[in-house]
Symmetry: C2
Subunit: 145 residues, 2 copies
Amino acid sequence: METHDLRNAGLKVTLPRVKILQILENESTDRHLTAEKIYKILLAEDGDIGLATVYRVLTQFESAGLVTRHHFEGGNSVFELAKGSHHDHIVCIKCGKVDEFSDELIEARQKEIAKKLNYQLTDHSLYLYGFCPQCQKKTDPFPTL
Amino acid sequence: METHDLRNAGLKVTLPRVKILQILENESTDRHLTAEKIYKILLAEDGDIGLATVYRVLTQFESAGLVTRHHFEGGNSVFELAKGSHHDHIVCIKCGKVDEFSDELIEARQKEIAKKLNYQLTDHSLYLYGFCPQCQKKTDPFPTL
DNA sequence: ATTCCTGCAAAAAATTTGCACGCTT
DNA sequence: AAGCGTGCAAATTTTTTGCAGGAAT
């Protein structure tokens, strides 16, 4: 129930917020979406929700820790529902597919590096870019987007 | 001599291009600069070089492999002279300082992960964020920018 | 001479903000 | 009722593009 998450975050339960949360939770679509994409999904569904509101809500969600913002190559931000555990991303440069992974060894190493350089680590981001399995097949040059 | 690099890249040797290259090469300043910062340095030096030109030149340099573009957190792109070897970055979230490092173990692990997920890796980016040594000292809350 | 470059102004693209009205609590 | 939230339009910010004049080869 999204209602609870919102109340928990000190946010009023409003239609735009509930809907956006539902879109991000939707397992059947990509869970890494730009504000623009979310806006278009909302438009298609029916609503009268403005793009500005989408940005505002996403920013609030980010502050509340409900959502994580990523800066993939290419410029615009993508938003993802914050799952409990940290993970990194591998992104297909052709079709935009996003897979997730996490690796204890890399995590540990990052901490060592920060310590060696005397940085007090607060955050990090690791993105791998390449062709996903589908986009490598010569026989199917136009995989499903 | 920058002239050679430019000719090599198939670019005419012009004042804006030489100057921008010199700024990026300058050891005494940060070598990770936004287009805007480069533009301001150029303004200060004297020139009549437009911001649009800075962007154009940097984009050309990137295509030519002379320069690498990074997307640090916070939005705008930073540009760095492409050194021979790959390296990653650790960025101070307070003063903006950028340090570089490279770690074979992490590199190797990334390749393994890509292979396991059947991605054909083309690129990757790893950014660590935190407080640099200077910005942790309680006694000096305003370190040199 | 020819082609490539540049500055400027205007255009785009992404994101944020001001304001009056409306919904949540 | 009170305050927070929303839509819309306008403002910002970052980056790109069109064009006419100027340089590099």
